[in-house]
Symmetry: C2
Subunit: 401 residues, 2 copies
């Protein structure tokens, strides 16, 4: 039984590290290519300028002549633009939402042109499949990494980078914008900021603003990085990066994005090593501890600690529309909304999602809610999204304005 | 509105730092004195010996001649034996459960002799009102603090220290044992280990074992300490203690023991300083961040980082009875149980508490459950315990075996 548990733990560790490692029956078929684009001078909402904002993006399907069949997928905190498909035939796993994006799937690439974009300050700054600009990027003015001199960005800035890509491609309107978690914040923001360009909004596992609880947890997520002496106030690109602190930060995110039903069911009180009783030494761990340690360390290898802190800040600063009042952005959303979430979510609890829905609906904007079922908490928004497949398909057919 | 919020935040910070700062209408009347006792050679469950295990204790009420009117109160993770009353007439606040312990109160000190004991490895090792033995204590064999050479303790060890005090006092049976959170684990352990000496068990906001989720969170609670370079593998008593790491650890505990309904209601998205927009700098914080920082730092002053890690380990290792099977200890509880909890608890969720209750009941042991209502999550087990006052009073009258 322990051996089986070990196997489960190992495969789970891979899932924990990023997102789903399961290969659904039919993946997006043509191979996917990470492309990049550059915004020559990107002005942030705070008024600062980033010369050469270069970001990665992926697309699935074909742009029609009217350029009106576009669905934008915005990604979560630890994600990137690899939403579907494989880079090569022998890739271990496809993009994170491959279960709903592809030929004949709810987001049907025979019909839609699906675009996903790496955010600036993307967590996976050192991943070969992420193209981003942030503190780890060389500042053309100094020839050195920006570090903490990089301007603070907001979710609205992320939206503006995506809009810049669409402008470069000559795309005026979005058939839909859809994203999970931090991706849902971008979806709300698109709906609030560009009501004339967005026909449908599909926020998944997210609510309309960062409340005090989320702000506090984001602070706690980042604390291990700030405590790691190698972080050195963000100035570590010439030396040893704060890998331990970053790994601990990623551990917290990993656990927070799950649900006790999962951790208790899979790990219980099993020991990491059958021969090493956790009662005997502080070095002897329970299996759940070792799995989280492994997941955090694995993920830290391709991640950047400063990027983590910039992402946490962008999430803390979020409220839809970033305007003069907390709710105005939600009132500004005119496009119909399909809101997908789970009540087992510890990061964006059901009450916050329902309050968001009520505010959007309050001025007559149509809102549908789909509740996902599962044992994975927040992560079910990625792992179990196929449950909402029929609702998504119908919404894309009929839900638009 | 911001000024009012600031006042609320300031008073809340005090609450956060330890426990209730509210003074109920009538506190335990006679002044309370912290006493101490010593176990000359305390043998741990792991077989190690601590020479001179000295611990603090408090008592409220009078021991009757038969010595059968004793109620033992076991304390929570960040607590100590100051459960009721004041040390001096001008104390700002009484002990944490003063609302239910005192003359005429549900735990009526006119009738009962109420004893509370500081645990070994108590968090408040550097508090003038805590007497404990642990890593920060001088090891008589070396003349230096034990540090991480102190033996790992379990909740059962805590129970054994309490039993040693009762033995010294000639007390054979407990009319009841009652404790919140980590105190509830000690209550379960008393019921499981000494069924003949315990007549009633009142676990508050706790369940019968540490599950994978709690084990993982306890790991995360301690991570900031291990990351602080001043921790130095636990060897810091000659130098600078890891105060920053300890403060961050205490921040996590503080937030985890609350509920979003509270943090969102009290703090919302208010800034720590009206003139300093968190969008402008990583140094500019939201109020909830600053309040948690302040609470963590304040509490760290009198706490010990190694003691925190030993407490976390003891909690991870807990399952009632510490025997050969996970549930046996719960089956071994024969005394009637009054289980008090809240469904808004993020540390010991309702499902875990109900499962514990079902296991205890499964062999015929009477179990009553009282659900507390409130917005404070886990902390309502301390702050809102008076809601269960009538149930406690009745249980102490009639519930015994």
């Amino acid at each position: 039984m322990l051996a089986r548990a070990a196997l489960m733990a190992a495969s789970t560790a891979a899932i924990l590290a990023v997102a789903p490692a399961f290969a659904p029956a039919s993946a997006y078929d043509p191979l996917v290519e990470k492309q990049s684009f550059t915004i020559p001078a990107f002005t942030t909402q705070s008024g600062e300028t980033v010369k050469e904002m270069t970001l990665g993006w992926e697309a699935y399907g074909a742009l029609n002549e009217a350029k009106d069949n576009v669905i934008l997928i915005t990604h979560y905190f630890s994600g990137n633009s690899h939403a579907a498909g494989r880079y090569s035939a022998d890739d271990a796993a496809p993009g994170y939402w491959d279960s709903i994006i592809g030929s004949g799937k709810p987001i049907d690439t025979d019909r839609f042109y699906v675009i996903a974009v790496d955010t600036p300050v993307n967590l996976g700054a050192h991943s070969p499949t992420v193209i981003t600009t942030g503190p780890a990027t060389e500042n053309p003015d100094t020839g050195k990494p920006w570090g903490m001199d990089f301007p603070i960005l907001t979710i609205r800035d992320f939206v503006e980078t995506q809009k810049a890509l669409l402008d470069q491609l000559g795309i005026e309107t979005l058939h839909a914008v859809m994203g999970a978690s931090m991706g849902s914040l971008q979806a709300y923001e698109w709906g609030a900021s560009y009501p004339d360009r967005v026909e449908r909004v599909i926020p998944v596992i997210g609510s309309g603003w960062a409340d005090a609880d989320l702000i506090a947890w984001l602070n706690i997520w980042g604390a291990p990085i700030r405590l790691d002496p190698n972080w050195n106030g963000g100035d570590y690109y010439d030396g040893t990066p704060p890998t331990r602190g970053l790994a601990e930060a990623l551990k917290i995110v990993t656990l927070h994005a799950q649900h006790p039903e999962w951790s208790n069911g899979v790990f219980g009180r099993a020991w990491a090593d059958e021969a090493k009783d956790p009662a005997d030494s502080f070095q002897n761990l329970f299996r759940i501890e070792a799995v989280l340690d492994g997941a955090g360390l694995a993920r830290a290898e391709t991640s950047d600690a400063n990027h983590f802190l910039y992402l946490a800040k962008a999430n803390q600063l979020f409220y839809a529309g970033h305007g003069d009042s907390l709710y105005q952005g939600l009132f500004d959303i005119d496009a119909p909304v399909l809101l997908i979430h789970t009540n087992e979510d510890l990061i964006f609890p059901g009450d916050a999602v329902r309050e968001t829905a009520a505010l959007i609906k309050s001025d007559g904007t149509p809102v549908q809610i789909v509740e996902l079922q599962g044992t994975r908490g927040h992560l079910d928004g990625v792992l179990s999204i196929a449950q909402a497949g029929d609702a998504i398909r119908a919404f894309l057919e009929e839900g638009g304005e």
